[in-house]
């Protein structure tokens, strides 16, 4: 690793954006933001701004993609051309294709696929602004969109990344840390079932660092999970409070 770049974490343990090693970036979650989608959610996580929408269960188009004994989940992760510093072509990149696949595979375990054969649920994630950790924020929002659509779920899926910068294991990397750091480990988790549904890593971690980062990411997940539940309840509680006045 070259020493050319500046320190990502200083002697006092403060990172470039002022956070401590185990601090999450500020998060904002809103459920039910799009009127035409069956379910939707919006997330702001640090500078990430992401919209997720869920449609279904509904008949699949094309029909031959449906399965006779279960529901099919389709997922599209897409970044807007203006979401990153250098304009990104609207055409799906290989990274977007891979992320669409892993996001779908991380949401599937939460669904009762056998309940609605011959139907499909389509989840769309649009990254409006990206600053590191978009796949995690996308998953958190997508799970809320699916729940908002009234699709039964085993648990909400929540995601958070941990990583390593300058030999320190840290939580929730932002873009600069992701690019210049030594490792990035996104994790998606269903807290009530203790189930990790997405796990990727690139970088260099010893077994010990890997364990530390995994635990740190899961702790981050648990914190964000509470916010997810709040956001979901808020949409339905507002009316309750108004009515009981």
């Amino acid at each position: 690793m070259s020493e050319k770049h500046e320190k990502l974490i200083d002697k006092k343990g403060i990172r470039l954006d002022g956070r401590k090693a185990d601090e999450l970036r500020p998060l904002k979650l809103q459920v039910g933001v799009l009127s035409h989608a069956d379910g939707s959610a919006y997330i702001e996580h640090g500078k990430n701004k992401i919209l997720a929408a869920a449609f279904g269960p509904r008949e699949m188009h094309p029909k031959h993609l449906s399965l006779p004994d279960r529901m099919v989940l389709r997922c599209r992760y897409h970044m807007a051309p203006f979401s990153v510093q250098e304009r990104k072509s609207p055409a799906p990149s290989r990274r977007e294709v891979e992320l669409s696949k892993v996001i779908k595979e991380c949401l599937e375990p939460a669904l009762f696929l056998e309940l609605y054969p011959r139907t499909g649920v389509d989840v769309f994630v649009e990254v409006l602004q990206a600053d590191g950790g978009t796949r995690c924020a996308s998953i958190t929002a997508a799970a809320l969109a699916i729940a908002d659509a009234g699709v039964p779920m085993r648990d909400l899926v929540v995601a958070c990344a941990a990583g390593k910068v300058d030999d320190t294991v840290v939580l929730d990397l932002f873009d600069a840390e992701d690019k210049l750091g030594a490792a990035d480990l996104p994790v998606a988790y269903m807290p009530n079932l203790n189930a990790v549904t997405l796990l990727q890593m690139d970088g260099n971690l010893t077994c010990g660092e890997f364990e530390k980062a995994l635990n740190m990411a899961m702790d981050g997940c648990k914190k964000i999970y509470e916010m997810q539940k709040e956001a979901l309840k808020t949409k339905y509680m507002v009316v309750k409070e108004e009515a009981e006045e």
Binding site: K101, P109, A195, L199, L205, T206, L214
Partner: protein, 263 residues
């Protein structure tokens, strides 16, 4: 994916695994036999053919010159592509890369890139202007399970077999010289993929096992035993304990395989 395997077979595999065995008499932690042949495609700058059991992958490496990326002016460029050609499996269709071949390529890429197996700075010809561009093309010839590990070994074997032409800058122009230099490979990452069937982890899943397993986890390990890449795939899940167990298994197996291959 369970359309290809009968329910009876599925149950059979599950029952065997419960007892710690597999249908081909392997133990849960055993990999299939690995055979490597290098340099079989003379027109490529490097090539290797790997047999992992009956899974067969051919990797060809082409070396060209080009411009470096703006943020790494002194480093060469590597790009990995994978093709799941129809001859390899009745399930593969001709056409542009689908999500499976893209995932395969990117996972193989990560193993090599993050372990810094290639000494990128030695691929620089003229800083900021000309560097070597290494194209790694993974060609799956027969799919009998665990394309990731087979492709990763084949890719590394092909890179170890790669010779780059010699260039020099003469009078401001890029001129080709006599002779070749081996591609500077300084790391030997090994990727270990484990499948999960019920709650057992099996190393190097075969094709039928892949249809029974609910998810897989692949880990690329470098010579120091450090983890350089991880990819969970499939629609199931792992508990954190299973993930840590997988990391220990991966470390063990990677060291074992590296020794067997003499890398």
């Amino acid at each position: 994916m369970s359309s290809l395997i009968t329910r009876v077979r599925l149950k059979q595999i599950e029952q065997f695994i419960e007892k710690g065995k597999r249908l081909d008499e392997r133990g849960l932690r055993d990999t299939r036999e690995i055979k490597i042949e290098q340099g079989l495609i003379e027109k490529a700058e490097g090539s290797a053919r790997v047999l992992l059991g009956k899974t067969e992958v051919l990797v060809g490496v082409k070396v060209e010159t080009g411009e470096p990326f703006p943020d790494t002016p002194n480093e060469g460029v590597m790009t990995v592509n994978a093709e799941l050609v129809p001859i390899a499996s009745p399930n593969f269709e001709a056409g542009p890369p689908n999500e499976d071949s893209i995932e395969l390529a990117r996972v193989v890429d990560r193993g090599i890139r993050e372990s810094k197996a290639i000494d990128n700075e030695k691929l620089c010809i003229e800083p900021g202007k000309k560097v070597f561009v290494v194209f790694v093309d993974v060609y799956v010839l027969n799919h009998d399970g665990n394309l990731i590990d087979a492709s990763a070994i084949a890719a590394l074997a092909a890179l170890l077999n790669t010779k780059m032409p010699n260039y020099e800058i003469k009078d401001g122009e890029l001129k080709i010289k006599q002779g070749y230099t081996p591609l500077p490979v300084k790391g030997h990452p090994i990727t270990v993929t484990m499948g999960k069937i019920n709650n057992s982890l099996i190393v190097d899943p075969g094709l039928e096992e892949e249809q029974v397993m609910d998810s897989r986890i692949s880990m690329a390990i470098n010579e120091e035993g450090h983890i350089c890449a991880v990819q969970k795939g499939g629609s199931g899940y792992f508990t954190p304990q299973q993930i840590l167990e997988a990391s220990k298994i991966a470390q063990e197996k990677a060291a074992e395989i590296r020794k067997k291959l003499n890398w």
